[in-house]
Amino acid sequence: MLRNSLILLVLLGFAAAIFPLLHSYEAKDALTGVAEHYANYGKEEVGAANLVSAVVVTYRGFDTLGEVTILFLASAVIGLFLKASETYTKDTRSVFFKSTEILVTASRLLVPMILLLGVYIFINGHLTPGGGFQGGAVIASAFALLLLSRPQKHFSHKVISVVESISGISFVFIGLLGVLLAGGFLDNHILAMGKFGTLLSAGAIPIIYILIGLKVGSELTGIVRNLKESQKEG
């Protein structure tokens, strides 16, 4: 109890420490700083209707590269964690519940649709909400569903990692093309800007989002797969 009271005290102290942040919050009525610039010039500079995508893929594209790397590393670490000490067995048991005929049929129907949705999300990332990460996550959830419904299904690790590698390398390569052909690393002007608001616009953003989508999708699938494959002990 003493311990919990002390923790409470610490937590209250912490709350008191962040209170000034809350306290000094003031509602804005217009954008300032870099956001103002993005809002006013983003259309000409990047050409993506979805300004969040413009920021994510181009203005702060380097962060996104890092973000992809984080998932990549997490997946690699989980892979090495679960692989190093365990031998693979094909575990046919489902993780959650018994696989039923209905589920299998449903998944057979659903999975392609979900996959399609994922692809749609990341291809249209520069126009509508969503993008590579969301699309990738959707794709991964399709595969997760597949794993749930058909536990005996075994994904080839090879395919996942090849997709992952190629999309990753291409991402870096496109970034470098920006250095060579345009203004800097990950500049999207290496491709024509196209007509604002159409699918083939915003330079390299759709390409990059497709790569991110593939990469995130394969990374997340890899994580899920690794978790499943290590069922020997679990």
Binding site: L21, Y59, L65, S165, I169, V172, V179
Partner: protein, 1043 residues
């Protein structure tokens, strides 16, 4: 120039591409990774060279084709080039070191390693705060992956704690960053620095959260339990990467963001750093697991670096130099030590004796330890020196004390560890596997310490004038260590002789006297080295290093050169002392006292330099601030070497347990370094008054007198012949201190002449007794006896030695004493004079005991066949005897030149010489006449004894009546055991080891403290998170005036 973006592109591209490599292609994946890391190192080194050699301008790297703050930009400047070079080199060699392991793990392992290096590169270069956050996450996820390279309960638990802690920290960082964006509308660091003055309370808090998160990344005490667990459990190769890589990069982030903090926060930061430095090192005292110990040290060092950052206002433009020199030392040494630890694979530092199986690794281990603590010639030495000077210049004495205290604590456990490795008894020394890929990185880093040390000294405004040649010669002996001892001995003697020949014309005044003691003395004692067969590995480099230091003291024109030489001498002598069979604990206490003394000196020199335009030795004569303190600090510093009472406890063991020819070196020669220091100090500063009333030198006079009595008393009660001689040195050094304190012509004349004669008789006695010990294999006097028949030459040496020692006429000790009493009478220090007189009587007791117990009486059965001491040990003795006899017969050959040297400083009261006839206000003395008279008396007695010899009764061994001993249980019944039992009853209370007890108490207290404090690391990951939160709250309260 390859654009820095290629560092990122290469590492990332290769990491991504490794997925294409199958399991069977692990080797090629490894080579590709090494290539990538090598290429990254090449790029950053190329930039570093560009900045350094061609003075390039820093270059911004823009991403996405927009100017900051609209897109993320990176900066490659001089500092970034340096730090990325460090990171990438650590990565490259780390990968080489981990080659086997990585190969077993496969591509995911390489990916993780490269991910970490990539993350660190970017956090160094980026100028965007959120980008910093992203890549910090990359490196911490990669680190979490690296930790579990070897999977067991310990690493997994440590990794989980690490993830919890870094998760919380990065969450807080993110919060701070976002609010900083909210208040300023930008994420660019340069913009933040520009709007810093924007004083919204909320913005300050947001900045606080960002900074505190970075501080927490640096593992501040006590919110760092998670870091320690990682250091302890992770594979050594990984721990090396974390210590050298992550810590370095995090430090740079702190450095980069430092201007965001208010001056008040900088002070808080300095406090956190210092608490970490002292706290970690205190807790390290009780630690026995090598990796955890290194973890404590690592965290402590980073704490020191944080202190430096926090104090940057006081350190001024030297901040960078100080921080970088200490950082690079830590970088190289810590990586090296962790790597060695991974090769040795022992779980307690006591088992590190196995390191003796590999000479190369042992040397490197020593190099890293000395690098870490800041000994010359390594870079951190110069960093610490500058730090102290700058702090003193800004009146920051509190920080001086704190930093030096922490350094001392660190030295204690590192040297204990080094001692264990060098000396601890380990009956079975199972060898460990040494693979080239593991040794190569260690060798490279070890060599780098020297190269960078030289480089750092060459850019230091004052260090570049230091004469490095003697040290270089000493180090060169490492390279020829494989030669037989006699060759190296000859080379060493030639080197010393040549250097003396070269130096001689430049020597003047006291430099000439001490130069002669150091160098001629060195040559004479080196002659005894011919007695050793074989290679005698590791002796000559350190012997010459000690002499290089001693020479450096005399040559020193600046205080930094003096201190440099002092430290070089300390290192050399430490290794000489620890060569003795049972020297380990004594060498440790020698080192601790030396370090303590050196730090006092450092503080003294630092304060002395305040307000001066240069560091010349002459600045000591017009110290502007706190001259009394300067005087006391320096004097106490020097007295740790002269072993004045209270600071003497390291001496008996160190001198007694040393090798036969090392004892005279460290006793007869090394102690004079302290005397030389005192002479220099007294001449430069004169007397100082404490509180305007009490004279410091007066107090030192008392200290000298008491030391003389106590040293001699303790000598009288020793059973061990070499220990007896060692305590006798304490006593004689007491005389010298007393003589110097008289501050008069005669006082100094006696002090300096005793210094010279003490060198001679103590070298003589140690060599003679050492020769005896060499043959009879024991140092206990009651196990000897009657050796006059077997070792007449040694007997004669001891006879002459003790006559001089006891100050008996006719030999030159007497001249010293005669002058001494004259000097005391003139100064009218009667009370102290009485003590000195009394100590002279005590000296008779132990000198008598020495010759009586060892050489007279019955010859032991087991010594019937014992041979005379080795020829080469006798040679230097008889050289010394020759000189002693000459000085005794012609005393003014010694006293007159010394008098001449002293006269310019103390013109009043000089002796009046007419031939050998000296006149003082209290009488006259003619050394030659006395010599003749005493020799005649001696001859008459001798002749009488010889004539009567046939009437003497020969006593057999078992004739109890005459032999007065029983052959068994010798230590209780032997007459020579506890020889002065009666005196001990009377005055033994005086010599109870109270002082030793006091120091032991201090040591125990410190260890107990450390033990208690480290209990906060209870192993519970949750507690560690609580520590982090509590740390944030407390620092918040301190920073924003809650307290």
């Amino acid at each position: 120039m390859v654009a820095p973006i290629y560092i990122i592109a290469t590492l990332l591209g290769v990491a991504f591409g490794l997925g294409l490599f199958g399991k069977k292609m692990n080797s090629s994946a490894g080579f590709l990774s090494l290539l990538a890391l090598g290429f990254a190192s090449f790029i950053s080194l190329e930039w570093l060279a560009g900045f350094w050699l061609y003075d390039r301008a820093a270059e911004y790297i823009y991403t996405a084709g927009f100017q900051p703050p609209f897109s993320i930009n990176l900066l490659m400047g001089k500092e970034e080039a340096l730090f990325t070079s460090l990171i990438n080199i650590a990565g490259f060699f780390g990968a080489v070191y981990l080659w086997d392991k990585l190969k077993k793990i496969g591509s995911n392992g390489y990916v993780t390693l490269m991910g970490m290096i990539l993350g660190l590169n970017v956090i160094i270069m980026t100028r965007d705060l959120f980008n910093l956050f992203v890549f910090l996450e990359i490196s911490s996820i990669a680190t979490a992956g690296l930790i579990i390279f070897s999977q067991n309960l310990r690493t997994i638990a440590a990794g989980f704690k690490y993830m919890l802690a870094t998760g919380i920290i990065s969450g807080i960082l993110l919060l701070g960053i976002v609010f900083m964006y909210y208040f300023t509308g930008t994420l660019n660091i340069d913009d933040f620095l520009a709007v810093h003055s924007l004083a919204v309370k909320g913005f300050g808090v947001a900045v606080f959260f960002v900074l505190i998160a970075i501080v927490l990344e640096l593992k501040p005490f006590p919110a760092n339990g998670w870091g320690l667990d990682v250091y302890e459990s992770a594979d050594s190769g990984i721990a090396a990467l974390i210590s050298a890589g992550t810590a370095t990069a995090s430090f740079f982030v702190m450095y980069k963001l430092l201007p965001l903090g208010t001056p008040q926060f900088h002070m808080v930061l300095a406090g956190i750093g210092l608490a970490t430095f002292i706290g970690s090192n205190l807790m390290g005292l009780k630690q026995t697991n090598p990796n955890r110990l290194l973890g404590y040290s690592s965290i402590g060092q980073v704490g020191l670096l944080v202190t430096i950052l926090g104090l940057s206002e006081f350190l001024g433009e030297r901040t960078t130099f100080i921080a970088y020199s200490i950082l690079i030392s830590h970088f190289l040494a810590k990586a090296g030590l962790f790597w060695i630890s991974g090769i040795v694979k022992r779980s307690t530092i006591k088992e590190w004796a196995v390191l003796r199986n590999s000479r190369l690794l042992m040397i490197l281990f020593g190099v890293f330890v000395f690098t870490l603590i800041g000994f010359p010639p390594f870079p951190s030495f110069f960093g610490k020196w500058d730090m102290m000077l700058q702090l003193a210049a800004s009146n920051q004495y509190f920080w001086i004390i704190g930093v030096l205290l922490g350094s001392l604590l660190e030295g204690v456990y590192l040297f204990r560890w080094l001692g264990y490795a060098l000396k601890l008894d380990n009956t079975e020394l199972p060898s460990f596997e040494v693979k080239w890929n593991k040794v190569l990185p260690v060798v490279v880093f070890g060599a780098a310490t020297f190269v960078i040390g030289y480089f750092v000294s060459s850019i230091h405004p004052y260090a570049k004038v230091i004469n490095y040649i003697p040290l270089a010669v000493a180090l060169a002996f490492v390279l020829i260590d494989f030669l037989p001892a006699y060759v190296k001995n000859t080379l060493a003697i030639l080197a010393m002789a040549y250097y003396y020949y070269y130096l001689y014309p430049t020597l003047s005044s006291f430099g000439a006297v001490f130069g002669a003691i150091f160098m001629v003395g060195g040559i004479v004692t080196l002659i005894a080295g011919y007695a050793y067969k074989g290679q005698r590995r590791g002796f000559y480099p350190f012997a010459l290093m000690m002499f290089a230091g001693l020479i450096g003291l005399i040559e020193a024109k600046t205080t930094i050169a003096f201190f440099y030489a002092w430290e070089v001498m300390t290192v050399g002598s430490y290794f000489l002392i620890i060569r003795g069979k049972k020297s380990m604990p004594h060498a440790l206490s020698y080192m601790i006292f030396s370090m303590g003394g050196a730090y006092l000196m450092l503080a003294g020199f630092a304060i002395a330099s305040v307000g001066q335009f240069n560091l010349d030795m002459s600045t000591l004569s017009h110290v502007l601030v706190y001259p009394t303190w300067v005087f006391i600090l320096l004097a106490v510093g020097f007295m740790t070497k002269t072993a004045s009472l209270g600071l003497h406890i390291w001496l008996p063991g160190a001198h007694a347990e040393a090798e036969t020819d090392v004892s005279p070196m460290v006793s007869a020669i090394l102690l004079k370094a302290g005397v030389f220091g005192l002479v220099t100090l007294f001449l430069a500063m004169g007397d100082q008054l404490i509180g305007g009333e009490v004279s410091v030198i007066y107090l030192l006079g008392w200290l000298g007198a008491i030391t003389a009595v106590m040293g001699n008393l303790m000598a009288a009660f020793q059973e061990d012949a070499k220990r007896l001689l060692a305590y006798s040195s304490v006593g004689v050094l007491g005389y010298i201190l007393f003589g110097l304190s008289l501050m008069s012509h005669l006082g100094w004349l006696s002090a300096i002449s005793i210094s010279v004669t003490h060198f001679m008789f103590k070298a003589l006695l140690f060599l003679a007794i050492g020769g005896v010990v060499w043959r009879v294999k024991t140092k206990e006097m009651y196990r000897m006896g009657g050796l006059i028949k077997r070792m007449p030459f040694s007997f004669f040496s001891v006879l002459i030695g003790i006559i001089v020692l006891a100050g008996l006429p006719p030999l030159s000790g007497f001249s010293g004493k005669w002058i001494f009493y004259n000097a005391i009478m003139m100064k009218q220090w009667y009370l102290q004079g009485a003590l000195i007189f009394f100590s002279g009587i005590v000296a008779f007791l132990y000198t008598f005991r020495l010759i009586h117990s060892v050489f007279l009486g019955q010859l032991k059965d087991e010594h019937r066949e014992v041979k005379e001491a080795p020829f080469w040990i006798l040679v230097p003795q008889y050289l010394i005897i020759g000189v002693l006899l000459f000085f005794s017969a012609v005393p003014n050959s010694l006293l007159k030149p010394i008098g001449k040297i002293i006269t310019p400083y103390f013109p009043v009261g000089a002796l009046d010489w007419t031939g050998q006839h000296a006149v003082s206000p209290f009488g006259y003395w003619n050394g030659l006449v006395i010599f003749y008279i005493v020799v005649s008396i001696f001859l008459v007695v001798l002749v009488w004894l010889i004539i009567n010899n046939r009437r003497a009764q020969k006593v057999k061994q078992f004739n109890i009546v005459f032999a007065a001993e029983r052959p068994f249980k010798p230590e209780t019944t032997h007459y020579a055991y506890n020889f002065y039992a009666h005196y001990r009853k009377a005055i033994g209370i005086l010599v109870e080891p109270k002082i030793t007890g006091w120091w032991e108490g201090v040591a125990e207290w410190a260890h107990a403290m450390g033990d208690k404090i480290r209990k906060i690391y209870n192993g519970d990951g949750q507690s560690y998170v609580i520590h982090i939160m509590a740390f944030i709250v407390i620092i918040y309260l301190i920073s924003f005036g809650g307290f």
